[in-house]
């Protein structure tokens, strides 16, 4: 069982394991939200929503309701 992107805390990094392509807009995939890519949570708005991410060099913000459909595996910060 993987964590979802919504579990990521500010400053943490992870690798995207899987995205439920039915629930995730194609646009997000095209912006780099694909399995294998790395993701870092840069900043969160109040109530941790929306989330400001750095996915594979793309800086973008998505809502929590989208983030729960993206499975990740956390990477320990070196």
């Amino acid at each position: 069982m993987h964590d979802t992107l919504a579990h990521l805390k500010k400053g943490e990094r992870a690798v995207i394991m899987d995205v439920s392509s039915n629930l995730i807009p194609l646009k997000l995939l095209e912006m780099g939200c694909l399995p294998g890519n790395s993701v870092e949570l840069v900043q969160v708005a109040p109530f941790s929503d929306p989330m400001y991410l750095n996915i594979n060099g793309s800086h973008l913000a998505i809502r929590k309701e989208t983030a729960i459909h993206i499975l990740i595996e956390k990477v320990a910060n070196e």
Partner: protein
């Protein structure tokens, strides 16, 4: 004979595509609309080496050829339709050197349409700061293209780009990705069914829900039979396609691009830790808003007074120089004051667009969207609604168009419906003149009552917008999948040229758009006020002279009486008095009634209408304000504009939907008459009730 080639500029948002366009075309550009839709169409002419002329189209920014908005549809419609007169001989894909990987996705898609494509890698001046180095020769070979490294900020690389465009025949049309590798069996059978068609093009036609109004129908219908796959299957294939494209791009960039992270200074992340912070972020946003409003009022005062003065003397001058008569009156009393009423907005509109375009160009607007999304969602809006709501203070028309990047239809619709409540600049002259008439001059804590009233009206407008969004969100039963993605672009110092062009363009379209309506209305009003049916109007002079024969009036007073009797019996007077019963409970007389009716064309007409009505038959040079102050309430006696009737009028203008152009835009953007009609009835009824209550309580 000089030859003209079509060049399409394509690229992701925030890559500086428009800067490249401005650098290529300079002032040789025009902005129009694509026929039937409100998507901006920017085109321009650029002279290339060897006498070649290029017709350049700046296509709307898009992340990929899989369109998810009206703006993006424009791109794909053009690229799929060889018969379009704008079909490009060559495509120029503009990318940002910092986001090369993601930007190349679109590039590979365009290459696969087998259109000759040049790759522009823009913002090259940032390379060393980010520790990026590129092997251009390697990239050119493996991406099968020619590359122009440009920096519009430093004006570098543009000549090289022009040179490459002029040699467009030498650019390869080889695709990047073999479409069949996405799904061998599916594409093989597709190929067998349509042996003469480009596979990727077919694939796009199958997967897009685009209205292919302009493309060849027959071809599409044939393809429609081929939609055997379910939507889910198609989407899975699209995901596979995207992965394949990234694999290709990663392979090329592995050798073609090196990034030395130790050299990279990421200012964006550092800045964003403060600018998007839970506390500091909101504080900074508040201060910026405050500064903007302060600046708009302070800076525009001088030019506005100046314009006011010019039109007053112009009107006077016309009267003196032209022979006396109906035509002179039309110009001096109808047209010039009417036009003055619109030109006077130019300073404020220009400043407002200046700030909005600086906020957008710098990348700050995306941060505001991020900060506000959660708050706005409570009210059924999106973080992206903040942009329309802020630009709505300039004009609801561009604001309604700015809702286009809200992906969720329900959130977008609600934003469109409530945006007209924000205090647009057309309400301003109405507010200003009425406030100066009915609000006393005193000060409270150093702030004048008049300025406070004005600020209160802005707050009321914004609060009503948000509150009605909340109600609409509860009432409207629209199912739409929420999804929200916004890019946080790098901070950039806005380019002066881009900002200036936006300000000029937007101001121009506002002035000419509204100017036409105001001109027409002031001419019509003047006619209606200067002519009337029947005996009463034609014999006004005799009737009044007989009536006051014994009163020994001075000649001047007598003329005044005749003029007002004429006005009352003119076409406009008759109409006005017919509607008077409806508006009397609000504290207005028939002249205000006429001004309100004509305001339904556009609010700013209010002052011009009163100016026209009051100046007909009046020769003195009194200002509109003095004339309004002198008006007497026909029933109660005493001044017509009292605190009660003034407040009632202010509230009426705050809430009523009185702008035909906005209604027309709403109709176009929602593609239905239902919404604009709903908007018109609900807003105007609400305005009537509030104004009625205000007057009845205050009088």
């Amino acid at each position: 004979m000089s030859k003209q080639i079509n060049v399409a500029l394509i690229g992701n948002p925030n890559t500086g595509k428009t800067s490249v366009f401005n650098a290529l075309t300079g002032l040789n550009q025009k902005v129009g609309n694509y026929p039937g839709i409100t998507v901006e169409k920017k085109e321009g002419i650029c002279k290339l080496p060897r006498g070649v002329k290029a017709h350049i189209i700046d296509l709307p920014g898009t992340y990929s050829l899989n369109a998810s908005s009206l703006d993006e549809n424009v791109v794909i419609e053009l690229l799929l339709n060889k018969n379009d007169k704008d079909f490009p001989d060559i495509a120029v894909v503009v990318t940002d050197v910092e986001n090369l990987k993601r930007n190349l996705l679109l590039f590979t898609q365009i290459k696969d349409l087998e259109i000759p494509t040049i790759l522009v890698i823009n913002m090259a001046d940032r390379m060393s700061r980010k520790g990026i180095s590129l092997d251009i020769a390697y990239l050119e070979t493996h991406l099968k293209t020619k590359i122009a490294l440009t920096s519009t900020r430093k004006k570098e690389g543009i000549d090289n780009l022009k040179e490459l465009i002029s040699n467009y025949k030498e650019i390869s049309t080889q695709p990047c990705l073999d479409t069949t590798t996405i799904d061998l069996s599916y594409f093989d059978s597709l190929k067998k069914a349509f042996p003469n068609q480009l596979l990727y093009k077919l694939w796009l036609v199958i997967t897009q829900d685009v209205n292919f109004g302009k493309t060849d129908r027959k071809e599409i219908n044939a393809v429609n039979d081929f939609k055997t796959k379910s939507k889910t299957d198609l989407k899975r294939l699209q995901q596979k396609e995207t992965i394949k494209r990234y694999q290709f791009i990663n392979n090329v960039l592995k050798k073609g691009q090196t990034i030395d992270l130790s050299q990279a200074k990421d200012l964006r992340i550092k800045l964003d830790r403060i600018i998007t912070h839970k506390v500091w972020g909101y504080l900074i946003f508040g201060i910026i808003l405050l500064l903007i409003f302060q600046a708009i009022y302070d800076w525009s005062e001088v030019p506005m007074d100046f314009i006011d003065g010019i039109f007053a003397s112009l009107s006077e001058w016309t009267k003196n120089i032209l022979p006396k008569g109906a035509f002179t009156n039309l110009i001096a009393e109808g047209i010039i004051p009417g036009l003055g009423g619109i030109v006077i907005f130019i300073p404020q509109i220009a400043f407002l667009f200046l700030f909005i375009s600086v906020l957008e160009e710098s990348g700050y607007m995306s941060r505001v969207v991020f900060l506000m999304d959660r708050v706005m969602r409570r009210f059924g809006l999106s973080g992206k609604s903040i942009v329309p709501l802020i630009s709505g203070t300039a004009c609801a028309i561009p604001a309604v168009m700015a809702t286009r990047n809200i992906e969720n239809w329900k959130e977008r619709l609600i934003t469109i419906l409530v945006t007209p409540f924000t205090t647009c600049s057309a309400r301003l002259p109405v507010y200003l003149i009425i406030i100066s008439l009915v609000i006393p001059k005193g000060r409270f804590l150093g702030l004048s009552y008049q300025a406070l009233t004005l600020m209160l009206l802005y707050l009321i407008g914004f609060a009503t917008a948000v509150f009605s969004a909340y109600i609409l969100n509860k009432i409207l039963k629209i199912k739409s999948r929420t999804f929200f993605v916004i890019e946080m672009p790098n901070y950039k110092l806005p380019l002066l040229k881009n900002v200036a062009l936006t300000v000029v363009e937007k101001t121009k379209s506002f002035v000419f758009g509204a100017g036409k309506i105001i001109l027409a209305i002031s001419i019509i009003l003047w006619f209606l006020a200067s002519y009337g049916p029947g005996e009463n109007f034609n014999n006004a002079e005799d009737i009044i002279r007989t009536k006051f024969a014994t009163d020994n009036l001075s000649d001047n007073d007598l003329q005044q009486k005749i003029a007002s009797y004429k006005l009352e019996n003119s076409f406009i007077g008759i109409t006005g008095r017919a509607i008077e019963p409806v508006i009397r409970p609000l504290g207005y007389d028939w002249k205000i009634g006429i001004a309100i009716i004509s305001s339904f064309a556009a609010r700013e007409v209010f002052v011009g209408t009163l100016a026209t009505i009051y100046s007909v038959g009046n020769d003195d040079e009194a200002t509109i304000k003095n004339r309004m102050a002198a008006e007497v309430n026909p029933i109660l006696g005493g001044p017509l504009f009292t605190f009660a009737s003034g407040i009632s009028l202010l509230l009426f203008y705050a809430f009523a939907m009185q702008c035909m152009s906005t209604l027309a835009i709403v109709k176009r953007e929602t593609n239905s008459w239902k919404w604009p009609i709903l908007q018109l009835t609900i807003m105007s009824t609400f305005a009537y009730i509030v104004a009625l209550l205000a007057f009845q309580f205050l009088k």
